[in-house]
């Protein structure tokens, strides 16, 4: 059973981020796995799950999300090996600190050595990141500038847009994958959705052909430099 826990969708789900859960569940089901999506509300404890999804949010909700996760079992479960895929604000709050309105250094969960400061401008637009030789296409909308520790591997190199800092995007540690490509980035990048799914399930997956492959080809054609 694949359990996909969507963390605080009412706080961290600004940009269609719930779509990533639907994509993972469907791609698992179509390969014969059982899959369920659990919405973790702000009053709920964080349950055991195969994968946790963290989405984007506005400043206040992001701060509240970090506070709630800090006192929950989330970090312990992640250290026990539960896998996380995070985007946007979700990416930021996994790090050591981030900035939100009125707070230049708000304490993050510290699960990865990454510091987010205020960027000089807000970054709004298409994002293309080279991940394992393939283009990851998406859309970013954030004001952060994220600096990774030397020991942290970025998800990929930025080809269009800003990502962390104009050079690289996101990060990839054994238990945490993250990107600034918000919302249903897994819908636009079926190959990457399968990478996330394979990592969560801990096994190789059979190829799966869907209409999303055509969408991906079209977006790459429209965006790739």
């Amino acid at each position: 059973m694949l359990t996909i826990a969507l963390i605080y969708p009412e706080l961290l789900g600004t940009y269609g981020d719930g779509g990533n859960a639907v994509v993972l569940a469907e791609r698992a089901r179509r390969r014969g796995f059982e899959a369920e999506i659990v919405n973790v509300g702000v009053d709920d404890d964080v349950p055991d799950a195969t994968i946790y999804l963290l989405g984007g949010g506005e400043d206040g909700p992001q701060r509240l999300g970090a506070d709630l996760l800090r006192v929950s079992s989330f970090s312990a479960r992640v250290r026990d090996g539960n896998f996380v895929f995070a985007v946007c604000a979700g990416l930021q709050l996994l790090g050591t600190s981030f900035c939100v309105e009125g707070d230049d250094e708000y304490e993050g969960l510290g699960l990865v050595n990454a510091i987010t400061s205020r960027g000089e401008t807000r970054s709004v637009g298409e994002l293309v990141v080279r991940v394992d030789g393939r283009a990851l296409v998406g859309f970013e909308n954030h004001g952060g500038r994220t600096t990774l520790g030397d020991d942290v591997e970025p998800l990929g190199r930025v080809e269009v847009g800003r990502g962390n800092d104009g050079t690289v995007d996101g990060f990839r540690t054994p238990g945490l994958w993250a990107s600034y490509a918000h919302g249903p980035v897994l819908a636009m990048n079926p190959w990457f959705a399968d990478k996330v799914l394979a990592r969560a399930l801990g096994r190789e997956l059979e190829p799966l052909v869907t209409i999303a492959d055509q969408l991906y080809d079209e977006r790459v054609g429209a965006l790739a430099p």
């Binding site: 702000v42 701060r63 859309f139 919302g183």
Partner: protein, 404 residues
């Protein structure tokens, strides 16, 4: 008024008319925005001067602005100056006020322009419908917008704010206003206000009420309420609209409440509002290549959800057209915030620049879809087909179809 300024205004007003006429003759745009822009460039105070000594009503919110504005204009029962073409920024307002000298004015206002327009036009009534996500790529985060409205309304005098009591963001925005008329209207979409605008803690929704642990809660001094009738300040009204959907009943309730503050006879106003069959081409029946189409504008998650809820579960084909041009917002992520699962049992034909994004969304929702690349091969149908389209896609379908 100093003579110099009024002369400048006259020149500016003349310019608005001339440029609009030329623009229409050259058939560029609807000929309202360009003239207004020229006028404002010549006389920056033009909007304030044009609105002086008139009874102004402003209508703002994410969804329902155009319809509510049309309902107020129709319900008023007098000649009304209004921006019925949907140009809802100051250049459109200037154009509307130049085009008609009527004392009665109702203007639809883009959410982010409400402050400027309200300070310039000194309205008697402002109707605030709802606030939710729209065009996220413009970074107009809804909570910030609510804060800006709040600062504006705390400051503005001699205005009655007709506000939706079921939308926590609207309540946060309106609660400091000098005079507020709270309306208890159907508001199914509250996903953008699940965290309290005051303290960011979760809001609780139950039994047509809502509250936060900090004490912020739904207002209880309601001026307009619904059961089988709409009750506005002691008058009971039987709403019986030609327009579809609960969201249009909510729009009508807001419009009639606004009109009650302008001294309009509500029973007469109701007859005129009930008789409306189409607003700026929306909901109207159109013809295209032998197909009978009903065009429905749906441009953000809240609007789209309301529109999906009006469709009967009869399995009829539905056409959906999605673009992601500048006016739509370049980011179609919002498709994943729309409960397309409601369309299971229907076959959905996917149109527009971003039909592949739509088809992918429908595929993951397990909805039967057809990607339309060749429009000449669409099956013939004798039934009226509902066409849901977002902003620029809707304009395209307006242009390509003919009135029935």
């Amino acid at each position: 008024m100093p003579r110099e300024i009024s002369l400048r205004d006259d020149v500016a007003k003349g310019a608005v008319r001339t440029v609009n006429l030329l623009s229409r003759l050259a058939s560029r745009g609807s000929g309202t925005v360009i003239g207004g822009r020229v006028g404002l460039a010549i006389a920056p105070n033009l909007l304030a001067d044009l609105a002086r000594s008139r009874d102004v009503v402003l209508v703002s919110g994410t969804n329902g602005k155009t319809t509510t504005t049309a309902m107020i204009a129709a319900g008023w029962g007098v000649a009304v100056a209004t921006n019925s073409t949907g140009s809802n920024m100051p250049e459109g307002h200037v154009a509307a006020l130049v085009a008609s000298k009527s004392r009665s004015v109702v203007l639809e206002v883009d959410e982010s322009w409400l402050g400027d327009v309200a300070r310039a036009t000194r309205p008697r009534v402002i109707a605030l419908l709802n606030l939710s996500r729209d065009q996220l790529d413009r970074a107009n985060e809804v909570r910030q917008l609510a804060e800006r409205w709040r600062a504006l309304l705390a400051d503005l005098s001699e205005v009655t704010v007709v506000a939706n009591a079921n939308d926590p963001l609207v309540v946060h925005a309106a609660e400091l206003a000098e005079s507020v008329a709270w309306c208890d209207v159907p508001t199914p979409w509250t996903t953008d206000a699940v965290s309290c605008p005051r303290c960011t803690k979760p809001l609780h929704f139950q039994d047509n009420s809502w509250w936060s642990d900090c004490g912020f809660s739904k207002p209880t001094d309601l001026v307009a309420t619904f059961d089988d009738h709409l009750h506005v300040r002691g008058t009971s009204l039987a709403i019986d609209l030609q327009l579809p959907g609960a969201f249009n009943e909510a729009n009508a309730a807001m419009a009639l409440t606004a009109l009650s503050y302008l001294g309009v006879d509500l029973n007469e106003a109701l007859k005129r509002v009930n008789a409306i069959t189409s607003v700026a081409g929306r909901f109207s029946l159109r013809l295209w290549r032998g197909h009978q189409l009903r065009l429905l504008l749906a441009k953000n998650p809240a609007g789209f959800s309301s529109m999906l809820l009006t469709l009967k579960s009869d399995g009829a084909d539905v056409w959906v057209a999605i673009n992601a041009r500048v006016a739509d917002g370049r980011d179609p992520s919002w498709l994943y915030d729309v409960p397309f699962e409601l369309l299971r049992g229907h076959r959905v034909y996917c149109f527009g620049d971003r039909r592949l994004d739509l088809a992918t969304r429908l595929d993951y929702a397990n909805v039967d879809y057809v990607l339309v690349s060749d429009e000449s091969s669409l099956p013939a149908s004798s039934e009226v087909i509902n066409v849901l389209a977002n902003y620029t896609a809707f304009q395209e379908w307006r242009t390509r179809t003919k009135a029935c």
